[in-house]
Symmetry: C2
Subunit: 934 residues, 2 copies
Amino acid sequence: VFSESVSDHVIRQVCLSSGDTPQAISTCLHPALIPVEVSLAYRFFTLMLPLLCFCHRYDLLSLYFLLQSCPATQPSMLNVHLVPHTHDDVGWLKTVDQYYYGDRNDIQHAGVQYILDSVLEQLLADPTRRFIYVETAFFFRWWRQQDSATRKAVTMLVNEGRLEFVNGGWCMSDEATTHYSAVIDQMTLGLRFLNDTFGACGRPRVAWHIDPFGHAREHASMFAQMGYDGFFFGRLDYQDKARRIRDKDMEMVWRASESLTPPTADLFTGVLPNGYNPPAGFCWDQSCNDPPIRDDPNLEDYNVDNVAKMYRTNHIIMTMGSDFQYENANLWYKNMDKLIRYVNAKQSQGSKVNVLYSTPSCYLQGLHQANLTWSVKMDDFFPYADGPHDFWTGYFTSRPALKRYERLSNSLLQVCNQLEVLGGPNSRKGPYGEGDSDTLQEAMSVAQHHDAVSGTEKQHVANDYAKRLARGWAHCEVLGSRPSTTPAGRLKELDLSFQRLNISVICLSIIWPVRLPVNGSDYMVLQPHGQVLDSQVSLIMAASSIMVSHCYAIKRSVRIFVSSLLKGTQEVGFQPGYNASDGNSADSNQPSGAYIFRPNSSTPIIVSQTAKTYTLKNSVVQEVQQEFSPWVSQVVRLYWGSRELELEWTVGPIPVEDSLGKEVITRLDTNINSSGYFYTDSNGREMLERRKDFRPTWDLKQSEPVAGNYYPINSRIYIKDKVNQLTAVTDRSQGASSLQDGSLEIMLHRRLLYDDVRGVGEPLSEPGDDNKGLVVRGRLLLALTPPKDAADIHRPLAEALVLEPLLAFQTGELHPNTILEFSGLQASLPPAVHLLTLSQWDQESVLLRLEHQFQVTESPTNSQPVTVNLKKLFSTLEVVGVSEMNLSANQWKDEMNRFDWKTSGGIVTFSTGNTNEKGIFGMCQSCLHKCEVF
Amino acid sequence: VFSESVSDHVIRQVCLSSGDTPQAISTCLHPALIPVEVSLAYRFFTLMLPLLCFCHRYDLLSLYFLLQSCPATQPSMLNVHLVPHTHDDVGWLKTVDQYYYGDRNDIQHAGVQYILDSVLEQLLADPTRRFIYVETAFFFRWWRQQDSATRKAVTMLVNEGRLEFVNGGWCMSDEATTHYSAVIDQMTLGLRFLNDTFGACGRPRVAWHIDPFGHAREHASMFAQMGYDGFFFGRLDYQDKARRIRDKDMEMVWRASESLTPPTADLFTGVLPNGYNPPAGFCWDQSCNDPPIRDDPNLEDYNVDNVAKMYRTNHIIMTMGSDFQYENANLWYKNMDKLIRYVNAKQSQGSKVNVLYSTPSCYLQGLHQANLTWSVKMDDFFPYADGPHDFWTGYFTSRPALKRYERLSNSLLQVCNQLEVLGGPNSRKGPYGEGDSDTLQEAMSVAQHHDAVSGTEKQHVANDYAKRLARGWAHCEVLGSRPSTTPAGRLKELDLSFQRLNISVICLSIIWPVRLPVNGSDYMVLQPHGQVLDSQVSLIMAASSIMVSHCYAIKRSVRIFVSSLLKGTQEVGFQPGYNASDGNSADSNQPSGAYIFRPNSSTPIIVSQTAKTYTLKNSVVQEVQQEFSPWVSQVVRLYWGSRELELEWTVGPIPVEDSLGKEVITRLDTNINSSGYFYTDSNGREMLERRKDFRPTWDLKQSEPVAGNYYPINSRIYIKDKVNQLTAVTDRSQGASSLQDGSLEIMLHRRLLYDDVRGVGEPLSEPGDDNKGLVVRGRLLLALTPPKDAADIHRPLAEALVLEPLLAFQTGELHPNTILEFSGLQASLPPAVHLLTLSQWDQESVLLRLEHQFQVTESPTNSQPVTVNLKKLFSTLEVVGVSEMNLSANQWKDEMNRFDWKTSGGIVTFSTGNTNEKGIFGMCQSCLHKCEVF
């Protein structure tokens, strides 16, 4: 019997065979059996279960090139690593396709197809030149259009290390407003393409988040578990950066998890010297105006000493590129060639500066060889400010409807993936056209971009992201409506009209009320076996109208797996708001905008001290509908049998006739003695302690008492004292804070009249369907518990809200053979375990991620190892073997061999410990293991 | 005895051996003897005189490729010739070097080095792609920096017709403000480089003046005599263009000389459909915002029928490019590839449109093969207007100081060239460094550009042109100061401090007063043999101060070859001016600017009705100094023995404190009954009849009564009746008109407060040395004669003023052996003959151009053939052989074989008549003639 123990807070990935005919598979299937018991240490597995093993042997020739590939450096000189790069937003001022093709250059000149064309030419022209590429969303589009000769040339460049992929996800994800579930998916999509296309030498060694506006600890943790050796970024708080420059602390080891044993979540992290731009005067892109280097002897070189004194080794890195640069790479390379030639020529006159084409990996190798002891970073890099009144905390909430749609789409994507697995390899073909999960997977991966779900894109681009998601929904609907060909042959004629409904959910493991809009009042809800379920028809209040809503199930085949209602009480809820600064103040002219939150006063305006209220109490629910103003209302609900209070808020259209932008918050005031502390999640997973007007690593000079205390929440925020903990679980990413003891505030919606001068060039004023301003509705679930019990409530609650069950509808009479109840699992999973991913990998394998979702000490019962028997997990899949992979499923777990770094806390080594140089190249090994099958 | 007859108005070019040791020479020396007597027909010769003949055999392989090189067209379809091109101004908003390197991209994004890099890559990538290149000033810079592999690749592209040079001069010269002498020089410089580098296949077949602001007939005449088969341009009067579109008369034969027998000066001329831009929506350069072609089937194609109906054959030309485009040629070619592929794919569905990569030569070949009869154009294309109130007649005068400096530099260049010839091949090396004429030749060639001497560049670029000329002067000065190593060994220690003096001249063939600034009043002027020359010291009035000036020669070795003074009388002279429109008028918001002249009233403002006057009368001169205002003054001079009245005007700083720009004219009012007619030169050579409010080829709707009647003058303007002719000869290019009978007006200076929105982006307000506004001084020479005698006066007068003798100075005592008098000619040339060019071609040959400067009927005596005996022409050079070349010296005269065109006046053929297709490829013949030497 094969069984698997899933420990605290561990996400597991398992490639499972779906039992079909064996065929050659494109990845190297490693046969190592996973251990039956796994330690509590926070790490990732990938388990591969082939029926037959087809090893793809990595070319030893490419290994040779890669080992040789880093350019020689001069040990006795200052080595200046020029890193030619382009930063290609997967949508921002233009849509992703407009960026790819170079369409709408009137908005911004940018065409990624030409960048890749041009860089290829230039790399082929001179073997010393190098380039890095980041965003697989673009590279994938381009690769599809290349002929075989071009593909061969690119492959050669990759094998020789001249073209290096860094980061390599589908996009460079936002770190504040993304959920780890979607980030893992988008990284997996991009890295899989690179692995399928280039093998081991295409695997990125370095994570590269040069633009995101602040950095989440969970991202660093994920990168570590994905096998990255280092991480570089450009943006951090200006005070933090000044301190790090002063203390020569620009590079460090980030210990990114409290739960995982170091160095599992340790990630070497470097702050780049010039953001991601070239040094002043050395930008030679067509989009720059710096003077070219003329062929004359009077070259004035950059004073590299200014940079060198910020860093600790005799290596410095220079990012030679910027947004959408290298469309005409000749300009860059021609001038860098001259720079290298002329500066290095001065070595014969005693200069100690050595300039070279390099890559982040080669720079990282130089740092590693320096064998220094590095400081350890334990907290995160939020919030980001680039000036005393310039806190980038507005985007935590910008475009709340898009943020919700993204979250809901993630939920659908998981359903869609699961349907493909349950349906088997042929599940994509149906009578209503071909469906697939790929379209939604790509749309979701695009939506993780740091100008997508972040809400910092132009309006037409936001519309495009939503359109892509909607197209993904359509493809999933087709998939859902196929006549089933599942192995068990039981799921038939399932019409998943997901989009027709924007309310409520179904969940296997938690009580979940279902609310549906209906006409009339005479409905009966039946359970699968025909029992009548208690339901009520009631009035609900919309923003500007009254709509009829019901808790219901109609006779005609609505599938409700579980629906029972619990009871509780709680008193909370009203919506104050901030007026946004218009930039006219004595301190600064910074207005609030898509990125930046800057209220014109630290005291919020109360929308209304009183509300029109309507109360409802029946056998299912008791609720108070509160109308604070024509554009702010709320329903406070408590279902019988439930311990959580639901706040359903409706905000909008936010009035701006008074020429003041507004940022609407909901504030929850309690008697909890929180002492300035509060706790927010990191990408929806681990919780981080926050403290008002405080940063753990430097002496904060607080200049924005509200915006400077805002943090992103993806799933929850809480305050606590010894007796009580108030936890608010949310349905989308938002900005939140605790500005007074006992108080929590969450920003719900924003409408602004000024651009905040960070490039987007539009005020954030979403038009809504009628151009009168967007109306947004959402939910907060509140739990008031003793601190020790809190996680046992909020972990499953947040899981249910994030991966929300979806309702499916079917009209007409059911086929008599229709099975009304089905589960892909043999039994419910334990409360600590979350089935994060179940998706068809290829014809012969399935990707499974299991997650232990309790942090190390948060629950006396649930923060313990749990054992899952994989053989007995699924009701329709036979698990015949398993191999463990890294988190992003592009490397065998036992071949992960990351750099070790000495830290101020002492050296820690990987359990697979290998401290030599091969770490960074460890992936380039041939796969010669003999396969074993259970 | 070898002798040569130079006929009326014929410029002759002779390559002469300087008598040094024979060496291999770079061009193919053709031995054909020129005929002893030449007909009156207006045509050009080049005479080559080698000591030994070294034939450079043109590769027959390249002939083969060129014959095959035009792409196939479809006789039954509309052939759309896509002509990929870039228009690279040799200075405009940036200097020529800034444009070459891509410096100061903050002003304008443009870097020619990258354009050529990029186009080369793209041409090599696909053999169907083509490109044309125009400006040799840039191509030369780029070629110097290429390695041998690149040069070889480029040569292959040229030989295969994939890279075609068009125009090929150093620049694309201005047509309104250039003098034919300098235009011939700059074309010769550029075409020689192409010939030396690529041989016959590098010879441009098509002249290409897509941007100049109006077109001079003399330019067409020169192009015809340089061997071009056709000429294309983009700008013509909007009314003219509308008429030509309506009448399908966009292409014609331009009969560009009254004096030359057709078809010697006939040039097939085409108006391009879109200026020089691509059709709307089809611009795919990085500088454009048109959408790229996506790879989808829904391609919307351009409605080519709209263009086709303007033209007569089944060929149309599309200029695919614009200013400084193709820096990233991949964008262009990638999308044009798709355009061609998708549009031509529709032929299988019945489409009759065939799109192809082409060149102007191949398009011209298509037109020639159509064998149609074309209309004949006899006048020119001045003035150019792009709207009713938008006459581009201001630039005729813009930057008068630069225009004068350019003209004076031309004079120096001829002196410099002649000194090199007289000094022989070693003349460039001297004790004060190495001198050369190349620097000034290049600076002068750059200055002919249509945003250089035209005055339509930014101020800093105008400064750069002047700086380049000054550098050229310095190189010539070194040349002049060498210890002479002339063949005769007689010119020694000549210190040519040309730049220290900005006044007056010396001339062999005409009386020329000399004025020099001195201190004191006690000077004696000696002739070469010691005789005292009559001279006077007098006061002259400067703009804002009184300076002492003298007609003088000091004892110390000033060489004055001739100086005697004649007598006469004339009454003329005052300076009115126009206030410039600021754009605020009911008709149009067009203001005056660097390009455009638009006075705010048709009536000029009189600066002053009265003037302070000072009179002077002595044995040399009588003069009246007139001060009309502190910023307008004039000296009216009449030298004893001279028939011409000299008006020395001083204008500036033009006051603008009243917020009105001003355009200062001088107006000469007489009783001549001119009946609306007046006459202006074309590039300083043939005279054209002008008529107020009239155009010869269309029914003019005059909308600007002043600006719409302005024409460029380069050397002279006259009015006449049966009794009198008043001719004004000028010292630089200017705008001029006759707005009332008997009146002539010439614009002298302009200072404006608004940009005229044609791209230069600066108001034309020259700062002058003190930033208070530029002061300009100049001269007009007036002759009042019977019409039949006028040319006998103004032809030599204009020659003297254009190719002004230069004064040279030497301090200290003269070496006893110094020869005080020297002439390179054995005797003076006949009055009709002008030695236009005498320059060292290479170590073994000298280029000579002789010009007959009298138009066909203008002088009873001088408009007759004249015989010059070349053997007896020079005092220090032995002429041992001679071959005739085309005007630009890049083709043997007897190998010129241009296309014949049928015209509405009947077919005319060349005397070397050959009507078959080989015309356009005639140059690609091997040179196998046996050399013959006298």
